[in-house]
């Protein structure tokens, strides 16, 4: 039989989000108070279930318990504020006392989860606060877990969460699904937040860890939730496809010793076929819904990599064309750099190098290590070892993650030991050309 702590943990992971989503609404949008009563309900379960047995419907028990505590708390707050008789006070108590739900029926729960998703990702909150709130409430992570994921202290994260909750309350950010005329714009905001969350997990900017699987998994979980809650929004399917296709390569992307493995050197047998198939299906669904956005193009590029059984089967012409269109939708130096990489693969390093040189001459991306890294790789492939070494050294001066630094150092040693040796063709840059990493230095968010 499953142990009590294990049942509670499973229930917490699965049901904290939907329960807190419901209680926030009952408590008039007060995130902090709602979280407290839901946590109290879980604490009560830990005490009562060993004595009284595990209820048949743990989730309904938790919601009912949290609801009772919510009503008590609202009554107490109203009493403390000595506003028992005001209309507003009565309305608050009435709202809190409304039936939490028809307990046999969780079918209305998605409405509250959608409210929670849109409120966590409200543009009036800072990007970091949005991500933290979503992980804390929708995903049911503890403040300590969220703090660890973002490499900050629990105190810093707790403060960030408190500030966000205060802003929601004080500026009166409504706990609603946006009106139809704002839905698409606000959905883009949600997607952008999920994309940043995934990117943060996919490639840590600093530190020794290249993959923080947890954040990617949470982003995927929220992506699936958004997809189920917003079935007609095409870009939601595109983003889910993009995340699935990248995530499916995670095991092949890092070597046993923690080094970075480029797309063309990855053991494709390690790719997660199930996630890849799901990703391709989501891309088809997105296209059927008429998706033609930034995420659609990025997902289509990832799909072309997924469909290539061997690196040499990759349709680089098509990928270069997709980057060309992406450049029109979301202009930016990082897209240009990726396009140059694809052009080099499709039509040879000279053509790619010409594009990289143009980009360098434009003076953008001067602090971005991938530009000299891409240049170095193209020079290396053209047999211009001495120039390649100069570019590798420039890239090394800018790179910030350890695995990527190790990769560049290895390449530098290679060109120094055999400066004019012919080398096998690889995609320039150190990440895959369709890397979902947010551009650094930051540019305008993709829309």
């Amino acid at each position: 039989m499953e142990s009590l702590p294990s049942i509670l943990e499973r229930t917490h992971r699965a049901d904290y989000g939907p329960i807190v989503a419901r209680v926030i609404r009952l408590m008039g949008g007060d995130f902090a108070a709602a979280e407290e009563v839901v946590q109290e309900a879980f604490a009560a379960a830990l005490q009562q279930w060993p004595r009284e047995g595990i209820p048949a419907e743990p989730r309904a028990w938790l919601l009912r318990t949290a609801h009772h505590k919510a009503v008590d708390r609202v009554r107490r707050d109203v009493r403390l504020a000595a506003r028992v008789d005001t209309l507003e006070a009565r309305a608050r108590v009435e709202q809190a006392s409304a039936p939490a739900l028809d307990e046999a029926d969780w079918s209305t729960a998605p409405d509250d989860s959608l409210r929670l998703l849109f409120t966590c990702c409200h543009p009036a909150l800072g990007q970091e606060a949005q991500v933290a709130l979503a992980l804390r409430t929708l995903c049911g992570l503890t403040t300590e877990e969220v703090a660890r994921a973002f490499l900050v202290t629990p105190a810093t994260m707790a403060q960030r969460l408190v500030r966000a909750q205060r802003k929601i309350r004080d500026a009166r950010i409504p706990y609603v699904v946006p009106e139809v005329d704002a839905l698409e714009e606000r959905t883009h905001g949600v997607l952008h937040t999920l994309y940043l969350l995934f990117s943060e997990g996919y490639a840590a900017t600093e530190g020794a860890e290249l993959l923080r699987v947890d954040l990617c998994a949470e982003a995927l979980r929220l992506g699936r939730l958004a997809r189920s809650l917003l079935p007609h929004q095409a870009e939601v399917a595109s983003l889910l496809a993009l995340m699935l296709l990248h995530h499916s390569r995670r095991r092949a992307r890092v070597s046993a010793d923690g080094g970075l493995v480029l797309l063309d050197r990855q053991d494709r047998a390690l790719w997660d076929r199930e996630e890849m198939t799901e990703g391709l299906a989501q891309l088809d669904a997105a296209l059927a819904l008429g998706a033609r956005g930034v995420f659609t193009h990025q997902a289509a590029i990832a799909a072309l990599h997924a469909r290539a059984a061997r690196p040499e089967d990759t349709d680089w012409e098509q990928i270069a064309a997709l980057y060309g269109r992406l450049r029109e939708l979301a202009p930016g130096p990082v897209v240009e750099l990726n396009r140059a990489a694809a052009v080099a693969m499709a039509r040879g390093p000279e053509q790619g190098l010409a594009l990289v040189d143009d980009l360098e001459a434009s003076g953008r991306l001067t602090e971005y290590y991938l530009l000299p890294a891409a240049r170095a790789d193209l020079l290396r492939r053209l047999g211009r070892g001495a120039e390649a070494a100069v570019a590798y050294r420039r890239a090394l001066a800018l790179v910030r993650t350890t695995p990527e630094r190790r990769f560049l150092e290895e390449r530098l040693r290679e060109v120094l030991s055999s400066p004019e040796a012919a080398v096998r063709p690889t995609a320039p840059g150190t990440a895959s050309p369709a890397s979902p990493r947010p551009p650094r230095p930051r540019e305008a968010p993709p829309r």
Binding site: D170, A171, I173, V176, P178
Partner: protein, 120 residues
């Protein structure tokens, strides 16, 4: 809930604007004011004279310091405001987005502190 919609824009732009264009913007503002008066959101609103007319006052060590100019020299200056009633931040943001200056300047949306409510 009450919100202040503070209008920040480059006041120099107004000086260089042809009269026909500034008239058009003022007409647009009149129409906006009429609309939010009709919808019941309007409480107050004024345009401000340029920051060349501004004086800043502070007391330090018990001494009054009066200086010429606005609080801070920035690229955009406070040029006017509306005080509006809105049911929540989304409604206030939607109003801010309808203001002409949002197209070239910035509208800061600030909830008004209700001193009758307990602070916390």
């Amino acid at each position: 809930m009450k919100y202040l919609l503070a209008i920040y824009e480059n006041e120099k732009q107004w000086e260089s604007l042809p009269q026909a264009e500034s008239k058009q913007i003022i007409d647009e503002y009149r129409a906006f004011t009429d609309a939010i008066q009709k919808s019941g959101n309007y409480i107050a609103g004024e345009a401000l004279q340029p920051t060349t007319a501004a004086t800043s006052v502070r007391i330090r060590d018990g001494k009054r310091l009066t200086t010429d100019g606005p609080f801070a020299e920035t690229r955009e200056q406070l040029g006017g405001f509306y005080l509006v009633e809105a049911k929540d931040l989304d409604e206030a943001i939607a109003m801010a987005a309808r203001m002409p200056s949002a197209r070239w300047g910035t509208i800061e949306v600030r909830p008004i502190l209700d001193l009758a409510q307990p602070v916390g």
